[in-house]
Amino acid sequence: MRSSMKELVGIMVFVALVACVPLVTESGVLLNFVMMALYATLLAQAWNILGGFGGQFSFGHALFFGTGAYIQAIVQLQGGLNAWTALGLAVVGSAGVGVFVGALSFRYGLKGSYFALVTLAFAEVFRILALSVPFTGAGVGLMLPLQESFANMQFGSRKGYIYVVLGFVAAALLVTWWLKNSRFGAYLQAVRDNEDAARAIGVSPFGVKLGAIALSAGFMGAGGAFYVQVFQYIDPSIAYGAHTSVEALVAAIVGGLGTLWGPVLGAVVLHVLADITRNLFGELPGINMVIYGVVLVAIVMFMPRGIGGLRATVQSVWRGLRQKNGGRRG
């Protein structure tokens, strides 16, 4: 079997296994854990599309998260449309903001630190705007009334939410798989590795990066919309605050950039870590983020390819050793 087919089967098995969890357990703690881990996975996968495959490190992905969240809330509250329509609009709207920011930044060739800075600044501008204009509820935020029903995408238990977010995670996995195996994905990785060389062989870096930021922003917006459905509340600092940007990028980097399973692994590992610290230290403010920061620094320092890259590193060392031994024998 080709390795790409193996990966596809892997995705199907993963989704099927997670889909079974709500069928076999009633434990609220476990269901909540699965839901939050999937949600963190979605954010990490969204960041990975642009950061991992496109090599464009955004420090302001909260921009797309917040936009999705606000569209989801406003469309329902003021537009009177149902939650599923709102979700579609949230994804499209966030992707649109992504294209806007991307078109501006990539048009002028912003790369590396400059791109990170400009995304950060855009998130901050949106935060201040959300604080200042009336239709976002300003500093008070927006509250979604509690009305459990399928049309409102509000469920009595975590199970319903798990299926919604699992749907998005599955879609993000498929998109990532497609990036690994398609022409577009190859272009994107070529641009990441050497933009000039990619241009020389006829790839348009601008168009390719624009496509990547649209996909990335769309999934991030879905994450924001999902957040609003679960917690039924959004305000400017939750929507556009730095912690969402950080959570997404740390999970992707810890797991392994530009890989299929890295963001899943990273999100789950960080989530387990956060739960353990919560049990050890209680609800101390800031302790979670301290650990995220330490893990980020440690990973960059000692495992630049992430946890997912550990196997590849070990394998290559092992192969190297074997070759050396083989060479000696021959």
């Binding site: 590396g112 600044a121 920061g293 320092m301």
Partner: protein, 290 residues
């Protein structure tokens, strides 16, 4: 609307704030100019310095201005060690890694402060906190005037160090041509760490000048970090004169923006400038390199 008696105090206020922005930005631009990295932990380091000044005042009764000889060397050592022990080692020669490591450091510092000091906003009381001085039709708080003079003095000192001393020559040599500098017998890693240390020492000075008229909380650095980036980008990355002028300019823009658009929306003026400069003139107003 353009009444001079309103405009003038606002302008003056902007200039005094701008001088402190310039000082913070000078540290950032020095680090960028030499190490070619963007120090995302700059705001968090400022926050650490502000807490140091605060603790010295609350626990040992040391006046913020008297704390200068303690806080400035303290921040220098912190910067030197951070660069030498963590940032340099984690970089593996890639800029993205430095970006991520300094981001990680800022997360750690900010949230450690949250852990130890809670999210309370703290201020200190000094005999001169509420003293004001009349300049023409304007009344300016004395600490702000001191901050203005102090920030300019420290900036001048920094320019002298970089321009006239042996260390400054080494710093400029490394900034220009790292391999050449190495061949001339300059210890590049040491110069890197010195630059980072001096950059953070600027923050120590800024913190001493700021606190009498300002406050500290774990997030306080965030407000300054984007402003400092704006100043640095506006002045041209790595340009000292640009950072000085940029700082004053941004201070005035913020002050006037606040006057005409209100406190929170006034902040947008800064970010709009930031994004516009990044997009249309990334080399900055005074930067040479295109």
């Amino acid at each position: 609307m353009f009444d001079f008696s309103i405009l003038f105090p606002s302008l003056l206020n902007g200039l005094t704030t701008g001088a402190v922005y310039a000082l913070i930005a000078l540290g950032l631009t020095l680090i960028y100019g030499v190490l070619h990295i963007i120090n995302f932990a700059h705001g968090a380091a400022l926050m650490v310095a502000l807490y140091a000044v605060y603790m010295l005042k609350q626990h040992f009764g040391i006046d913020p201005y008297m704390a200068l000889p303690l806080v400035v060397p303290g921040m220098f050592v912190l910067g030197y060690v951070l660069q030498r022990v963590i940032i340099n080692r984690a970089s593996h020669g890639k800029d993205e890694n430095i970006l991520l490591v300094t981001l990680g450091l800022s997360i750690i510092l900010e949230n450690a402060a949250l852990l130890f000091f809670k999210s309370d906003t703290r201020t200190i009381d000094t005999a001169y906190t509420l003293t004001t001085v009349a300049i023409g039709p304007a009344m300016i708080a004395l600490p702000k005037l001191v901050a203005f003079a102090g920030a300019l003095a420290v900036s001048g000192l920094l320019l002298w160090v970089v321009g006239k001393t042996d260390l400054g020559r080494a710093i400029r040599a490394v900034a220009k041509e790292k391999h050449g500098a190495k061949l001339m017998g300059i210890d590049v890693d040491h110069v890197y760490a010195m630059s980072f240390g001096i950059g953070l020492a600027c923050l120590g000075a800024a913190a001493c000048f700021l606190l009498p008229a300002y406050y500290v909380n774990p997030q306080v650095g965030n407000g300054f970090v984007l402003v400092a980036f704006t100043v640095v980008v506006l002045g041209g990355m790595g340009s000292f004169g640009g950072a000085l002028l940029g700082g004053l300019l941004i201070g005035v823009v913020e002050s006037l923006g606040g006057l005409y658009l209100g406190e929170s929306l006034g902040q947008i003026g800064i970010f709009v400038i930031f994004i516009a400069v990044l997009l249309f003139r990334p080399q900055g107003l005074f930067g040479a390199k295109a």
